[in-house]
């Protein structure tokens, strides 16, 4: 454990050296989202097990979109834009899952 924490800052420095601002932004947004989502899941379903892989995937996708949208400064507008996009994506997915348009009716 102690080695982990010793290496953490080195890892972070390595990541930033390789990927610059994008790497740092992505990591911070990803982790922040993950913490918040985990907290929300625990609040809603204290007994639940979170599928770590899906959580990582979703959080990093959103973090990347935020990084892409935000460019130099992330504004409230950017986040709202992302949110509406995300909602649309989910609704569309739900619609497709339900079978999409039924032309045979």
């Amino acid at each position: 454990m102690s080695e982990d924490s010793l290496n953490k800052l080195n890892e972070l420095i390595d990541l930033i050296q390789k990927h610059g601002k994008t790497g740092a932004r992505l990591l911070f947004l990803f982790k922040l989202l993950k913490i918040r989502v985990e907290g929300e899941v625990k609040r809603r379903h204290p007994n639940a097990i979170i599928d770590e892989e899906s959580l990582n995937k979703l959080c990093i996708q959103i973090a990347q979109e935020l990084v892409n949208i935000g460019k130099d400064k992330l504004t409230e507008e950017d986040i709202k834009k992302l949110l509406s996009k995300q909602m649309y994506k989910n609704e569309f997915k739900e619609f497709i899952d339900k079978g999409g348009y039924n032309f045979h009716e």
């Binding site: 982990d4 924490s5 990927h19 610059g20 994008t22 990591l27 911070f28 899906s54 989910n90």
Partner: protein
């Protein structure tokens, strides 16, 4: 009276007393209750997967404080990038000097906490001036939460993601 005969009083007898007529009466215990333990039905553990996680993420993104938090995280990330050399310098001098002494005789758990908070403080020391005052409190709490909770695996995951995206 009660020596040879065993009488059934219906309830447990704690003792005897003599009433005003001179009769020996039993002191019975109050009605006994069976202790019922009310077990709540066992809640099955749900596994939360993608579609449900998506909904939860949406609701998290809709919460008002998340705007400020995401903005602060962005600022912290930028500040870390700009001051990377300074962070490296402070960190290496700290490692050379204090760290080895600190490690001796300190338990793993304590060491982990000390190092996590030290790392947060090292980074904060370097980036503090770069962050606007109104964002400072939020930024520090985000930095400490992220630095303390992020794992090596997660940093590697982000790195792999970036390398694949190239």
């Amino acid at each position: 009276m009660h020596k040879g005969r065993r009488r059934n009083y219906g309830r447990g007898v704690k003792g005897f007393y003599t009433d005003e007529r001179g009769r020996v009466r039993p002191i019975t215990s109050s009605r006994s209750f069976k202790v019922r333990i009310n077990c709540s039905p066992r809640i099955p553990r749900i596994r939360i997967e993608e579609p449900m996680l998506g909904t939860i993420i949406n609701s998290v993104l809709q919460q008002v404080p998340i705007f400020r938090e995401l903005q602060s995280a962005y600022l912290v990330a930028d500040a870390v990038c700009v001051n990377l050399d300074l962070i490296k310098k402070i960190y290496s001098s700290y490692q050379e000097g204090n760290l080895k002494r600190t490690m001796e005789g300190v338990g793993d758990y304590v060491l982990h906490n000390v190092l996590s908070s030290t790392q947060t403080n090292i980074v904060w020391l370097a980036i503090k001036d770069y962050i606007p005052r109104r964002y400072q409190n939020k930024s520090f709490s985000i930095l400490s939460r992220v630095m303390e909770q992020v794992t090596d695996e997660e940093i590697k995951y982000v790195r792999r993601f970036l390398e694949q995206a190239k």
